[in-house]
Symmetry: C2
Subunit: 297 residues, 2 copies
């Protein structure tokens, strides 16, 4: 792989777009592709090139990165007839940074191995802010040697980079991550409603919680917005709902019993059922308010 | 109040003892009392004085601090016939740093007001480590002026000091704190079991979770011990069980519905029912392991 390998980036959404820009800023030549053309135009304006299709991007790249919404998207883009594996030279390194089922990552890795293509599942945590700042946490499954080969690319978009196991392991850790994030948001929401319903200054209370063993990045990053009922995404409820479905599947497959994970998945479903799927996941506060008779919308 | 008011400290347990020592180190004269005499002897060895009884300590002090296990203890020590209020001069400042029911704090504050005694409820978070290091988070209910008068004392034992509202408000915030702490420990336990049951390196996984939006002081301070199944307290399950009982009462009184809080209270009860009440609350991991068929003890 060249010193500055050519990067193909497929999926220029809320997360993908700033990640691709950070790769450009780090000096990589980046060719991008996205279903809607406007995102590609913005990448070109930021110094990237336009790819005409998945196959076009793959042929023009040493490393292909995908950042797509869900498992079927990755299966289509990676395994489809004009997909990455069908279009790739044997020395391609393919890094899927989407959050998908571990089984999808394993299936892609197996199909790629048959063609001599190296694959990593490398989902991220840290949200839009982490993507913009290039400080994402990246949990990586696949061969150790491939992880090391990918490090120069991953460093341009991430702060914490950890190889956690074989193909699919990155997705398993991401599932655990999404369980902890959703659960922590829900706990903070319950704490806020508990304090407000008791007539206590919840902003002051949350400040002191943040300074002790209850402290979390959720309080630091989302506490103020939750107190202000500001639920513009950020990370959408629809996506977290999808991720918790993966998490419950992973738990069932592994025989792990996760009572709080199961409960918060139901609360996220309730939020979505009320039509709030496009809000930030901090809107779990609305579910607690509704349950507590403190909101009528 | 003098520049260095005389402090009476009642309740020299795991938390109280190091807090009293930090007051001595900060230059306050401290007279201590405890049900078992050995704790008083240790305070004397650290430069404090021995109080013979609650009444004796109260009469020799400008500020009395209590750090006791539960609501009935505070009611007996504060309101009993030879208790603090019965023995106090009218200008006493009484700071109860125990974790008790908000109603107990309100009852003590009302009784004290009748005698012109100032009272604060000032429960803490941060555990034994925070008590030893003098970095506790302190959530304070009571009159703002009394909070300001108490600040020199509170600064000697705490890092984050916040006035959160009137009498009882400190306890309400502490209840919210204990909800978030127990819930976060349980979420981390579920994440660990999910990763281990899936054959993923949970230590590596937890490292990456700690670097992203899932990051928390629970992961930072308790993650390694939980991975190692090291459950020496720390903060005992029995006490956290007591605190979650207070939390559920506060929620019911206020009409707040806290689904994850209720669920983790049940899991803490299950841990205690198995005879693990004297372990550190990180032992919630054992409940998840038992539920998942991964432990037989």
């Amino acid at each position: 792989m060249a010193d500055r390998p050519r990067i193909g980036f497929i999926g220029l959404g809320i997360m993908g777009a700033p990640m691709a820009v950070n790769l450009i800023k780090a000096g990589f030549p980046v060719v991008g592709h996205n279903r809607s053309r406007s995102a590609v135009d913005r990448l070109v304006a930021a110094g990237g090139q336009a790819g005409e299709s998945v196959a076009d991007v793959t042929r023009r790249s040493d490393v292909v990165v995908t950042m797509l919404p869900d498992s079927p998207d990755v299966e289509a883009v990676a395994l489809g007839p004009d997909g990455i594996l069908a279009s790739a030279a044997p020395d391609l390194l393919y890094i899927d940074m989407s959050t998908v089922r571990p089984q999808t990552s394993v299936a892609v890795a197996r199909a790629a191995a048959d063609k001599g293509i190296r694959v990593l599942d490398a989902p991220v945590s840290g949200g839009e802010q982490g993507a913009v700042e290039g400080t994402l946490s990246i949990m990586c499954g696949g061969e150790e040697a491939d992880f090391e080969a990918a490090l120069p690319v991953l460093r341009a978009v991430g702060g914490t980079l950890v190889h956690v196991g074989p193909a699919g392991a990155g997705q398993t850790v991401k599932a655990a991550n999404q369980l902890v994030v959703a659960g922590t948001i829900e706990l903070v929401a319950e704490a806020i409603v508990l304090m407000e319903a008791s007539g206590v200054d919840a902003a002051a209370g949350l400040r002191v919680l943040g300074g002790g063993l209850a402290g979390s990045r959720v309080i630091d990053r989302k506490g103020a917005a939750m107190l202000a009922r500001s639920f513009a995404p950020g990370f959408r409820v629809d996506l977290h709902h999808k991720d918790l479905g993966i998490c419950l599947d992973v738990a069932r497959d592994a025989g792990a019993v996760i009572p709080l994970g199961a409960a918060v998945a139901q609360l996220m479903s309730a939020l979505r059922a009320e039509g709030d799927g496009s809000l930030d996941h901090g809107a779990l506060l609305k579910v607690v308010e509704r349950l507590s008779g403190r909101r009528r919308d």
